[in-house]
Assembly symmetry: C2
DNA sequence: CGCAGATAGTTCAAGTCGAGAACTATTCAG
DNA sequence: CTGAATAGTTCTCGACTTGAACTATCTGCG
């Protein structure tokens, strides 16, 4: 860089700046590694929750992920059209849809999980096992100071 | 991997997830602390670079911050309308604008810097001095693995 | 039983925002 | 002097969200 003006020069020493920068970069990169599967991190989040508890309604999911109902529609449409999730009629309440993973959905979820793990490894490849643990501990402490533990705000 | 773990537990142990979540939260909170000044983090970034080197052109700034020229226009408009930055004719090249902080801009930049420092303190209040250094070191290592050091992607 | 109000899901229209193409003014090379 | 390149600006397109309205159900109370 000819002029020697580097944006990160001063703020490189700031935890907040680094966090925000790294967070955004890693989120973007993670989304890219997920792309071959045809899903993005939000779809992954949905698969994850449906996998944990089958039969939930869209709004229950939306609440867990802090996604407004009208947005859930399109998101569920996506994963349903890919044959990953089924909307079943709930006999107890026919207004609501009971969401279930299809076999294909479960398989893809497992793949996505593997990809996530792989990316995690890549991200931490410059760290020793001990450093990684330290980092996790420190990040958890920050999370405590930063605000009440909620789900990922990037969903909303 | 244990069975029956819940979502937070699985991803709470992920550096990538935590980074992304904390990064987004801290960026949002920082933007909120800046709001009383009438600027957002991008304006702050502009003030910061203009402060470091007066007289640069919009495109030089845009290059440093990875902001396309067409976007710089609106951004500079913002800070100019608030009387923080001046677009001066550059006698050497009358196509380009030489950007300078106004006294008001300098004052506001100092305030913003103070706010940023304050927020940084708040963010790290759960950490000891030593832990904070550790964290910075670890984050820098991650940044190295994560990709070539560029400026903050949130600008673009 | 039957009506009123709440609730799940959907659709739709409006608002926001960024990116890239096209345009003007100016500079520079030959 | 002329043509290509460059700084800045404008404008339009497309992507993305959201909140309000609409349908269909459900639930409670008289």
């Amino acid at each position: 860089m000819a002029e020697g003006v580097d944006a990160g020069e001063v703020l490189g020493g700031s935890v907040g700046f680094l966090l925000s920068k790294l967070g955004m970069t890693s989120a973007t990169q993670f989304a890219e590694t997920l792309e071959p599967l045809g899903i993005d991190p939000r779809h992954f989040g949905i698969l994850r929750i449906v996998e944990m508890a089958s039969g939930q309604s869209q709004q229950q999911l939306g609440e867990a992920l802090h996604i407004p109902p009208s947005r859930m529609v399109a998101l569920i449409d996506d994963v349903e059209q890919r044959g990953l999730v089924e909307r079943r009629r709930n006999p107890k309440d026919r207004r609501a849809h009971a969401l279930h993973l299809t076999p294909k959905g479960r398989k893809l979820y497992d793949q996505a999980l593997a990809i996530a793990t792989e990316y995690e490894e890549h991200l931490c490849e410059g760290l020793s096992e001990r450093e990684r643990d330290q980092l996790l501990t420190l990040l958890h402490k920050l999370a405590a100071a930063c605000g009440p533990a909620g789900s990922h705000p990037g969903m909303a």
